[in-house]
Subunit: 219 residues, 2 copies
Amino acid sequence: MTATFERPPTATEAVITELRRLLVTGDLAPGSPVRQEALAERLGVSRVPLREALKVLEGEGQVQYHRHRGYVVSELSVDDLVEVYRMRELLEAEAIRVALPRLTDTDIDAIASAAGDVEDAGRRGDLAEMTTANRDFHFLLFDAAAMPRLSRTLRGLWDATDVYRSVYFAGSDNRARVLHEHAALLDALESRDVPRAIAMQAEHRDHSVAAVTTALTSR
Amino acid sequence: MTATFERPPTATEAVITELRRLLVTGDLAPGSPVRQEALAERLGVSRVPLREALKVLEGEGQVQYHRHRGYVVSELSVDDLVEVYRMRELLEAEAIRVALPRLTDTDIDAIASAAGDVEDAGRRGDLAEMTTANRDFHFLLFDAAAMPRLSRTLRGLWDATDVYRSVYFAGSDNRARVLHEHAALLDALESRDVPRAIAMQAEHRDHSVAAVTTALTSR
DNA sequence: CTGGTGGATATTGGATCCAATCTGCTAGGG
DNA sequence: CCCTAGCAGATTGGATCCAATATCCACCAG
């Protein structure tokens, strides 16, 4: 029997995954309170695993907690956004500095393949898939630094703006630019050019922060 | 009635606080499994708030979780330590860059007062109090950057090495140096000298990383 | 009209109980 | 002697139930 079973994760883990999805789709909208009873029933679990999941998301800053008042989906202020991107700037540069010299050709192939996935998803107009493929593309690079804490922190920072980032891929001009920038970054990786790779990543990031800012201010 | 009531926190919050204490005192030793039933009873609560608290600590990397096998107190490898301090280097520099120009005289007074607390605790030989006062001293500065995510991330990084840092204050030569370095940092703050403040903080940090490394390798 | 008081209701916090899973031991076969 | 199967105990995962707290609104006094 070689079939690889999808092990049934614990309810808590399943809930965490599902809550993340509800957050990025906006099904749990920023600012809205989390009614545990209703949400637990909707997910088909009791409140216990839901509360554990919420504690995890609280740690990531995705929801905020007030004693005896429960959880509220975090809203991102412009200040928050600036802070998130500034931290990304510092930490992504470090990740690239460490990762690039360690990248094997196999790694680069995998990253190139992820770039292809982004392109395919874009062609199909599948925004959700494009978002996750885009994330895979970047984190294949970051993770190559073999700095787990750094990766985890970066994931948290990306998560914080995921809700708003989807609007970025909605614009077809943005989609085209993303593909172009991915190609440029890949090129810098292949030539093992650290400063250029950092610059490319920075440019890429700056474009998205601009889009997210407008999405945030015009509501 | 001007007395400020100590509001009874929720059991979960109380447990989080207590677990942190158990972690820094080494009462929960790195590598040891967390037996929920016994620990809950010891803390006088049921397993529910304990599990929520553990999820929080898991998010901070203080404990590790494996499905159906429970939680284990994290052990810090030398690689982890290097990573933690590299991230601190990047993020603390940023915090100081942002905070220093915003520091009011009142802020500086508060920081100076915290430095005095460290000194007092050191004179009394109260290592636990010295650790917390030292932390207050540094985070009064970091928090002045008004970047809550950055502060939170930094706290997590400090927490990760707290267990091992206590050995640092155990050496009387180290204690003397800490006081000296705090004074130098304060001086840089008063003259609003950003590069010097960053350099002082770096030097200060490097001394502690050296101590923690030896504490870690010689076990 | 304003401000405060009391109580009804909704919601969260926590304890207990049972189910699911893992671990370690024992026994049997090769 | 070693390896595997399977059972028993220990431990975690989750559901349900009750207690504690907050919120909201009606009501009353000033």
